[in-house]
Symmetry: C2
Subunit: 395 residues, 2 copies
């Protein structure tokens, strides 16, 4: 287990309650960098995007950022020009207070969709958020909490590599997926990574972590993942850069799996590995199709080793493979149980498989045996709590 996110040299953090959340919980989160940082960011691919996403995407072009502002409790999505104006107003107010250009601020909102953002409490809360920003663990923890919505616990991880710190913060309650499961992720580091490849590096890390956790396939209007690297001096390269990327990826994966673990609904986290695929895209398609199949996910919930559903889900992924060559196995608790091989079911011990699947973590491995590409996805089960929590969210 990794450590929870901690302070990173060069950054001050805060989380305050400004009154957007009706219960008075923390709902305004702020990161202030001591000086402009190299930044990389990926945003939702959804055609319907919240105002803060459109604005932050435009700001990404500069490649530098000095602050991150997040409000929770309202997504400021599907709110038209009024929502856009509200977001710009919060940005200009903060930029003035910090003395930095608006384009150096990344902004995000998460919460209910289609309700106008209450801009007055947000503007009133900004001075308190700036004043509260600091480097203590309490302030770091407040930031973690202030970006949450229906999360049962704040998410993140901290790791050190070659003397540099990386803290990753995330929010999103997988199984609950309230407003399209808005996922926010922020990585802060004092490592000097500011080359032209930073965006590509961050994209790779996000693809193998936050983009590799599947809950229900619904993507948000607000999904955002931002990396701020504050380290000055000569940029990491070669082996040093590789070690940094590996550490960052590992921290992101830890945080991402916490999203799957969260949510009243999720009983278990299931790792789906597809290997031997003809290419990376094919491996991803098969793994994602299994990870999203309601029939597979309800079988996970019931601890039912119904391998036929997994094989059939793989078969409809739109990928060419020979059903007479594939192999499927279940693993967990240091055991591996082969279920299906070369077109025929194997005579496995069903009771043993059920015991294994009653754990909170287990894995399926599907070998297509037609190539050398591999994909790994983390998903969760589909149980009664998912239905209960999602059936009446706005009403």
């Amino acid at each position: 287990m990794m450590n929870k996110p901690s302070a990173v040299p060069g950054f001050r953090l805060s989380g305050v309650a400004c009154g957007i959340k009706p219960d008075g919980a923390l709902d305004l989160a702020l990161v202030i960098a001591d000086s402009p940082c190299a930044m990389a960011a990926v945003y939702t691919q959804n055609r319907v995007q919240a105002a803060p996403v459109e604005i932050s995407r435009a700001h990404r072009a500069g490649g530098l950022a000095q602050a991150i502002l997040v409000n929770s409790g309202n997504a400021n999505a599907c709110t038209g020009q009024v929502g856009f104006d509200a977001c710009m107003l919060s940005l200009s107010t903060l930029a003035q207070k910090l003395g930095c250009p608006e384009s150096m601020i990344q902004v995000a909102s998460t919460g209910v969709i289609g309700v106008p953002l209450p801009i007055a409490p947000l503007l009133e809360g900004l001075p308190a958020a700036v004043a509260a920003a600091g480097r203590q663990q309490q302030q770091v923890d407040d930031f973690s909490k202030a970006i949450c919505t229906t999360d049962r616990f704040p998410k993140g991880a901290a790791v050190c590599v070659d003397g540099y710190s990386i803290s990753v913060f995330a929010k999103g309650a997988g199984m609950i997926a309230p407003n399209m499961a808005t996922m926010l992720a922020y990585a802060l580091t004092d490592a000097p990574v500011h080359g032209a490849d930073l965006q590509a590096l961050w994209k790779r890390c996000v693809d193998s972590s936050f983009n590799a956790v599947m809950v229900d396939g619904d993507t948000s209007t607000n999904d955002t993942a931002v990396l701020l690297a504050g380290g000055q001096g000569e940029a990491l390269s070669g082996k040093g850069l590789e070690r940094f990327e590996a550490a960052l990826r590992e921290a992101c994966q830890q945080a991402a799996v916490q999203i799957v673990e969260d949510g009243e609904g999720a009983r278990c986290v299931v790792e789906i590995t597809v290997s031997g695929a003809p290419n990376d895209d094919a491996a991803q398609r098969v793994a994602r199709t299994i990870a999203l199949s309601p029939l597979c996910k309800t079988a996970f919930f019931g601890a039912d080793p119904n391998w036929g559903r997994i094989v059939a889900a793989a078969g409809r992924a739109g990928v060419e493979f020979d059903a007479q060559k594939i192999r499927l196995s279940l693993s967990g608790d240091d055991q591996v149980i082969a279920l299906f091989d070369q077109g025929v079911p194997l005579g496995f011990d069903k009771a043993q498989a059920q015991i294994l699947m009653r754990n909170k973590r287990f894995a399926f491995h599907l070998e297509l045996r037609t190539g050398s590409s591999e994909a790994r996805i983390w998903t969760c089960d589909l149980g009664h709590n998912y239905v209960t929590l999602n059936a009446e969210y706005t009403t």
Copy 2:
């Protein structure tokens, strides 16, 4: 409401119990045509296909069929060479009894996957099925029942057009979707439709009916839809053929919607129409993404007019559209409630929308306003019974 399937001149039908289903229910179904019929067929696109699908697909090449043999209770899928041999043995036995080539028989199996087909009871049941075949309503009804698995009721429709009969039979329990929701559909007619376009005509009918109902996106190893047209003489053409196709499509749509209605889990059937799409494929993608979204489907279950989930699902369908131009409305009970238009939510009466969504049938219409293509899909809600019924199916 249409009539249930009835006898069609030129065909004898039967349904008997041969002992594959442990409870002694009807499990062997047979259609015998008086003479070779023109046939068209579509089969599952799944890469993993049951033996009877592979064999029937090969038989389609001849374009003629004289019999249909279906067993329920066992899918004969993922059973390797043994399953293939069992299927061939049942075919050769029936072909000998009927005095027709094996290639003129369409065969299907539906039921549990990965368990060897009990061939002995099937072979013993064949003579009884042949002997029982007839033209009475009771025999038609027995056929309807014998193709069922977890279906709560037999499905189908009958329609007459220009003096010709069409009966459509279907099985598949949408919401339960036990073994990948195997769907079988058979259409019998005495109309003279036997031109080279028959396969294309049947494909169009299936695409707008059986392929337009979405339950959980899991397709079967065994899905099959076959049309037998026994009418001799000059083939229908022009307006006559158009009227025939319209009648056949209507009967298929009626049968297909019954699949969605069935299943302990389904509370409601929801029609999703996407119009104004740039092309047919785009319209289909958007409609299907909405129809399969767990967040949308749980909202349907909860009668929750959570339009944000529908807009967001549309947004992730991979189709280009302008979120500032789209319009979404809910309809049912002869009412239409506009929910979202040109980027902003409308102030609709939520209580009224909830009342409308508590019905067993309602519809959403999403207008993309970027083109002229339209798609219509029928889906159902995702509720607690879906989870209960699917969590422990094999165990």
